[in-house]
Assembly symmetry: none
Homo-oligomer: 432 residues x 2
C-alpha cells in the first residue's frame, strides 16, 4: 500500500496467443516500469483473449477501479482485432475516422502491395468518437485515448513492441496519461544486491525495516544469483524527495549488510568484478569443473572483458585436471576431486599456466547424481589464487533447486570470492 | 475460440515485484501451456500485489468464474507471503499443519543454518483446513489445492519456477486439476525446433500451413536458440483425435524442414547432441573464444554429460590459442584470430590435446566493439574436428540483438554443426 495518494494504473494485455502461452508478454512489464516512473502505482496486470465480448466485459470491471488503464493488442487489421469496436460499444459512441487516415492507409497499401486496401485494413484509421487519436509511426493502426464513463482514462495501443513503444513515447500516449499523474512524479525505486548469505540471514538483518518502514517500502527476493533487497520511496507533502529517501536507505543498508552488498540496480556481479580488475590493471583466469564454463561465460558477458580475462580451462574429467593444470594425481586419489586441496591446486595451476594475477576455481557435485553422504549433491569447493597465495572455501549449495541452480550458485560464489579479495573485504565465509 | 466445450481456467500471479516490472513472469505462460495440454481453456491471466487484502479480493472475483484457478507466488517464509492466511480467511477455515511438516522444516533449517527455525519459516508447513497438501520437493513451502466456496478448484503454488514445477508435476498439483478436466483432453500441442535457417526461410517453407490450416493451427517463433514451429490441434466431433492430427503434422513438417529440424517439445539442442554422443560411445571437447565457455556450459547443463564431455579450453587471448591448443602463431598473424584457418586449428588442436573423438570451436566478433568492415560484429567461424578431419563454417549472426545474443547464436550453431555430423546430415550451411 502506498502511503501517499498515488494515482493507480492497470495494465491490460489482449490476445489469445498470450493465453495459450505461445508468446511471452514483454509489454506489461515494460509499461509497468514506465507507469511507475511517471508516478503511478500499478495495481494489476490482466490478460484477456480476443473473443467477442472479452474486452467489453473487462472494461466494465476495470472502469472506475484505477485512474488510468492501458492496453496492448487487438488494434490490427484482422477479424479478431476488436478493441476499437468493443470500446465504442462499451462507451456508447460510434467510430470516427481519424482525419486523413483512410487516405493515408489506402496509399500505404497501394505502395507496398500494389492493390486496393481491403476494408479491415482501412478500419485501422478509425477510433471511438470523442477519443484522442494517438499516432503510431511504427505501424498502420492508430492508437487512442478515451475517458471511460466511470472516469478511468484508457490508452489503447497495438501489440507489437515497436508499435506500442512508438505510440506511447512519440505518439502522445504517455503525455495523455501524464495529465492524470498530475505531477505525481513521486516514486523512486532502487534495488540492492547481496551475495554470501541466505535469504533468511539477510532478512534477519533488516527484519524491522521490512516489517515497519512505510516510506521507503522494502522488499526482498532471492534467486540463484543472490538475494536482492528493494526499496520503493514515495513523495509525500512537505517531506523529502523519493530520491533523498533512497539515498538514506542506501546508507542504512550499507551499514546493515556490510560486505554482503555488492551492487545496486542494473549492476551485475560479473561487471563489478571486471570493473575491479580493470581498476587494478589485473587479469584473471578460471579453472572450472562442476561449473562447466559458466564462470567464464559470466565474465565474458561483460563487454570489454577481454582487457582482463585471459581465458581458462574446463577440467571436467580428472585426467584434464592433472594434464592441463598440473594437479597432482595423488591429491585427487587421497582427497577426491571435490576437495579443498584440489580446488586450491586447480586455482594455483590455472594462475601459473595462464600467467594471470588471479585465478578462481570450482569443483563440486552438481547433481542430480553422483552425491554421497560425505560429499552430497550441492557440495562445492571454490578456490582462489592470487599474488599472496591460494585458498579455498566450502559451500553447500541449495541442491533441491536442481543441477542448473547449483551451477549458478557456484558461479556467484566464485565471483563473489574474487570480488571480496579485490575490494579488501573479509573472505567469503563457508556455509556449513 | 475453442471448438468443443472445454472447462475453463484462470492463472494468477502474485507479487509486488511483478507489478513493478522488476521481474518477468515466466510462470503464467508455462502453466497456460500445461493447462492447454490438459484440455482447459485459459480465460485470463491476472497479476496482483501482495498487500493485505489483495488476494482475498481477487479470490472473491475469480471464485465461480472458472473450473480451476492456479496461482504462483506468496507462499514463502516472509511477512508478505499471505496466500495461506488470505485463502483460509476467504474460505472461512483455519490453517492446519501438514502432518510432520513442522518437524521436517525445523530439521531442515537446523541442518542448513545450525540454528532454530524462526516461526515464519515454520509457517510454510501449514495449509488452509480441508486443503489437500501438495509436496514441493524443490523448496520448503508446501503448496495446496482447495475447492473454494463457489466451486472453483484452487491450486496455490510457490513462485520460484523450480518450486512450482515440482509442486505441479511431481507433488500432485496437475493430478488434482486433471480431475476437473474430466477427460476433456480435447486439445494437443506440439512444438518443433529448427536451427540453421532464418525465420523467414522457415516461414517460406510452410507459408500456406501458417495461413490456411485451421486444425492444427500453426505458429512460428524465433529466438537466439533457433526457430520453433508450433501446432495446436483440437478435437472435433467425429474427426481424428488431436494427437493423430499432430502425428500427421509432424510427418508434414519433417518433409518440409528436413535436416533443419532437430527436436520437439521439451528437447534441447545440448541434450540432442549429448544423446547422439552417448549412442555412439563418442566423446567431445571444446575450444571457445568468442563464446567464452557457453558451449561447455550448454553441454554440461545436461545431466550425465560427464559420460561424453572431456572438458575444454576458453582461449580468449591469442597467446592462449597458441600455448594451449598449438595454433600456429603465423596463422593468427596472416589470417587473424577470427578466420577459417584459426577455427580449424583450434578444433583440431583441442581434439588432439583433449584425446576426444570430436571437438568444436568458435572464434568471432561478439561486439559491441571490435568489429571492422571486413570482420563485422556478428561474424563467427565455427570449427568442427572429427575422425575424418577438420573444417569450419562462417556464420553471420544477427548482431543488433546484442553481444549476448551473438554468443548464444554461436553456441546454437556450434552444437548444430556437431549434431549434423553425428546424424549424417548435410553440413551446416554458411550464412552470407
Amino acid at each position: 500500500m502506498s502511503p501517499a495518494r498515488q494515482p493507480e494504473a492497470v495494465v491490460l494485455s489482449i490476445g489469445e496467443e498470450l493465453l495459450q502461452g505461445r508468446i511471452a508478454d514483454g509489454n506489461a512489464r515494460e509499461f509497468a516500469q514506465e507507469l511507475l516512473r511517471m508516478g503511478f502505482v500499478v495495481r494489476r496486470f490482466l490478460t484477456i483473449g480476443d473473443a467477442p465480448g472479452d474486452l467489453q466485459r473487462a472494461l466494465g470491471e476495470l472502469d472506475g477501479s484505477a485512474s488510468v488503464l492501458i492496453s496492448t493488442g487487438g488494434l490490427g487489421p484482422t477479424a479478431d482485432d476488436r478493441v476499437r469496436a468493443e470500446t465504442a460499444a462499451y462507451a456508447g459512441v460510434n467510430l470516427q475516422e481519424v482525419p486523413g487516415a483512410v487516405a493515408a492507409l489506402t496509399q500505404l497499401f497501394l505502395r507496398n502491395l500494389r492493390e486496393e486496401a481491403p476494408k479491415p485494413f482501412l478500419a485501422q484509421g478509425f477510433v471511438p468518437g470523442d477519443a484522442r487519436p494517438i499516432a503510431n509511426a511504427a505501424g498502420s493502426a492508430w492508437a487512442f485515448v478515451l475517458d471511460l464513463p466511470r472516469g478511468t482514462r484508457y490508452l489503447a495501443m497495438p501489440g507489437p513492441p515497436v508499435e506500442c513503444r512508438s505510440a506511447f513515447h512519440d505518439g502522445g500516449g504517455a503525455a495523455a496519461l501524464a495529465e492524470r499523474a498530475h505531477g505525481a512524479a513521486g516514486v523512486a525505486f532502487r534495488s540492492f544486491h547481496t551475495a554470501g548469505a541466505a535469504e533468511s540471514a539477510i532478512e534477519a538483518k533488516i527484519r524491522e525495516l521490512l516489517a515497519e518502514s512505510e516510506n521507503p517500502r522494502y522488499g526482498i527476493t532471492a534467486n540463484a544469483r543472490g538475494v536482492t533487497v528493494s526499496a520503493l520511496a514515495f513523495a509525500a507533502e512537505g517531506g523529502p524527495s523519493p530520491e533523498t529517501l533512497l539515498d538514506a536507505a542506501s546508507v542504512t543498508l550499507r551499514e546493515r549488510l556490510g560486505e554482503l552488498l555488492w551492487g545496486s540496480d542494473a549492476d551485475t556481479l560479473p561487471e563489478v568484478v571486471v570493473r575491479a580488475l580493470v581498476a587494478r590493471g589485473a587479469s584473471v583466469t578460471v579453472a572450472e569443473s562442476c561449473t562447466g564454463g559458466r564462470i567464464a561465460a559470466a565474465i565474458t558477458s561483460v563487454p570489454g572483458s577481454s582487457r582482463v580475462f585471459r581465458g581458462g580451462w574446463i577440467c571436467y574429467a580428472n585426467e584434464s585436471k592433472v594434464r592441463e593444470l598440473g594437479v597432482a594425481e595423488a591429491l585427487i586419489e587421497h582427497h577426491g576431486a571435490v576437495s579443498e586441496e584440489v580446488a586450491i591446486a586447480m586455482a594455483a595451476g590455472a594462475r601459473e599456466r595462464g600467467g594471470a594475477d588471479w585465478a578462481v576455481s570450482a569443483t563440486g557435485v552438481a547433481g542430480p547424481d553422483g552425491g554421497s553422504e560425505a560429499k552430497p549433491v550441492g557440495l562445492v569447493w571454490i578456490g582462489v589464487a592470487g599474488p599472496e597465495g591460494a585458498w579455498a572455501v566450502e559451500r553447500r549449495q541449495w541442491a533441491r533447486a536442481g543441477r542448473s541452480s547449483v551451477q549458478q550458485q557456484s558461479v556467484r560464489d566464485a565471483l563473489d570470492a574474487l570480488r571480496r579479495e579485490l575490494s579488501g573485504q573479509p573472505r567469503l565465509p563457508p556455509r556449513p
